[in-house]
């Protein structure tokens, strides 16, 4: 009955959307409900000498047009493998996408042939990597590297290709783009290099961009400018963005929806305000509280005890139980929890061992 949380219902601050112009807002709203990417029960495994690692263990989510989804988690939580699985870039062997569906614009990417997939990669769906120094090849000019994708996907050559490259560089606000196109990566600063990586990502008008920690190696001011730029591009093109990050600051600034991953599974997902105002899973709570705040003097930080679990040796049942500070019996922890919709669009992996208000939602599950 009282499944709808009061807090999230009262907290309505449409501040962010008021900043965009009305026309753009209207445009966004009409396309909002159109799902571009739908992932269902994705499972990716690696065979290692320690046993089978279930890096992604039944992940499902939808990404709408113009929406930004943040996938948050520690290293080893499976967030990067999720993004590689979407692109079908998991090295095989040892990796293997065991089951699931990745529907991009109505096509299941997992059923495509390798040749068809090459066209999708960098075309309909593109990846912006973390480190611009390793993502760019030092031996080729910016023109070659940005142009490669355009040439392959759009078949443009010669002068037309150069113009397209300059357009792409201009769209990521690189000054004197026609001269910069002739430069090599080492001639650009870190922020500019990251913009070039961004230009490669958006050059083919993708419907989905996966950004894997794109700003971790950047300075605060350059990071701010880059995130602002991504937002502008999104407003112009309506591209859906998946942000892979461990930084809740980026989530707060950029994302519309958040999925928190732990040990290969999504433990909680909701819109960004619900996650911040009314987190239910202990892991989500701890992640938010363990970050010092800039806005005020923070008291002693809450720390999550212990280490993330080894993925080849996951505890049976609730994998967060060993690190949870709640009181629960061993039997409770042995139950493998289900992801349940507790209120509209707010999904939580319900278990006695890691949800404090379990009683309130106990009627939703049969354990």
């Amino acid at each position: 009955m009282t499944t709808k949380s009061k807090k999230s219902a009262t907290k309505k601050t449409p501040k962010r959307s008021s900043k965009t112009s009305k026309a753009a807002d209207f445009g966004r709203k009409t396309v909002r409900d159109e799902v571009v990417l739908s992932v269902k029960d994705l499972k990716t495994q690696f065979s290692t000498k320690w046993g089978t690692v279930r890096a992604v263990d039944g992940v499902s989510f939808d990404l709408k047009k113009g929406e930004t989804l943040g996938i948050v988690g520690e290293s080893g939580s499976g967030k990067s493998v999720t993004s590689l699985s979407l692109m079908r870039l998991v090295p095989s062997p040892p990796g293997e996408i065991v089951s699931g569906e990745v529907n991009l614009n109505g096509r299941d990417l997992l059923k495509l042939s390798e040749k068809e997939m090459t066209e999708v990669r960098g075309g309909e769906i593109s990846l912006i990597l973390q480190d611009p120094m390793t993502a760019l090849n030092p031996c080729f000019s910016i023109e070659d590297q940005v142009g490669e994708g355009i040439r392959i996907h759009q078949g443009i050559k010669g002068k037309g290709l150069f113009d397209k490259v300059v357009d792409a560089l201009k769209s990521v606000r690189i000054p004197a783009a026609d001269q910069r196109a002739k430069d090599y990566p080492h001639q650009l600063s870190g922020g500019m290099r990251q913009r070039v990586v961004g230009a490669i990502g958006i050059s083919s008008n993708p419907s989905v961009i996966i950004a894997d920690e794109p700003t971790t190696s950047l300075d605060v001011t350059i990071q701010g400018a880059y995130l602002r730029l991504l937002k502008q591009i999104q407003e112009e093109t309506g591209v859906g963005i998946i942000f892979i990050t461990h930084d809740f600051g980026i989530v707060a600034k950029m994302c519309d929806r958040v999925a928190v991953m732990y040990a290969g599974r999504i433990v909680e997902s909701a819109d960004v305000r619900t996650i911040f105002n009314n987190p239910l899973h202990e892991y989500t709570k701890a992640l938010i509280e363990s970050v010092p705040k800039l806005e005020q003097k923070t008291g002693r930080l809450t720390q999550i005890e212990g280490q993330p679990p080894a993925l080849w040796d996951l505890p049976e049942g609730d994998s967060f139980a060993p690190r949870s500070t709640l009181k629960f019996s061993e039997k409770d922890a042995k139950i493998r929890p289900e992801l349940v919709e507790v209120s509209k669009d707010h999904f939580v992996q319900l278990s006695k061992s890691s949800v404090k208000d379990f009683k309130k939602y106990a009627h939703l599950v049969n354990y």
Partner: protein
Amino acid sequence: MTTKTEKKTNSKKNVPSELGCTTSTKDSIVQVRNLRKWYPVNKAISLFGKDIIGKTDLLKAVDNVSFDVPKGKTFGLVGESGCGKTTTGKLILQLENPTAGEIYFQGEDVALMSKAGLVEYRKSVQAVFQDPWASLNPRMRVRDIVGEPLQIATTMTKDQIAKRVGDLLEEVGLNEYQSNFYPHEFSGGQRQRIGIARALALNPKLIILDEPVSALDVSIRAQIMNLLVDLQNEHNLAYVLIAHNLATVRYMCHRTAVMYLGVIQEMGDTETVFNNPQHIYTNALMSAALPSHPDIDRDELVLPGEVVSPINPPDGDVFQTRTPLKVDEKHEYANSRPPLVQVGKKDHWVVETPWSIASKDMKVNLAGI
């Protein structure tokens, strides 16, 4: 004996006072005065001290920096990459020799120390580095990594060292039996703990923390920051925290200095600086920092241009090439370095020029929700 040593230190108490340096020598562990580190780049070919072909450019990594590190407290250095904060840390660690300026350790000039004095200094000042993957030798076992300073600088026997290493590991939250492991057997957070244990081995008085948590996962960061705070309280340690994350600085530091192009632009008590940042650059940094809640929507103060190269920076105020305000080229501070000026009567100092102080509409609003 005691009177003798007292006399010795007393005779050396001649640390010059400098603007913004408010801690007395008695309460300071390290005092830095007018420190400079200039690197020559593109060296000219010279004869008899004169350049014949080309011109030697100077990369002024640290340029006239003065501050005090109080005993048992944390002093923070913030700024973008290339602002000279790491070089300042290296200078204090004696990993680099300063071009000019002095570093005083408990009132004694480090440059004039005897060999024995320097050994003592090096024992008292230790470091924890950013990347726990690069800062531990992969071929050494943990007991050798943590025990190495003890082998070199003390006369302890093998058994004593083994015991001390065990104690140190327990202190940083690891187990004694792990001393036989190699670094690759640990996670990032655990490696950083090993680095901290190594720094603690010789009972230092000051630890230079160069971005100690920025390479770690968010959940592990809190563990390491709490550990550092606990160790500080327990051992009355002083820290110099070099960081670019302002939230970390606010959490850890008692005093903070904001650096830009090798020069301290704003300095003072951390809360005073964060509550009322004066310099445009400080405001710009804070406005760009990530919010802690989605409802916080700060207006970003964007500075024109990119970070300027520290090679041949302007003779006058270094900030004049980035300020959004108009620079009067005839003003004295356009051609000579402006000093730090006290804000009100608080422990708060700022470089004040007609173009460097944030006006009301530029001030960052750090209010929460």
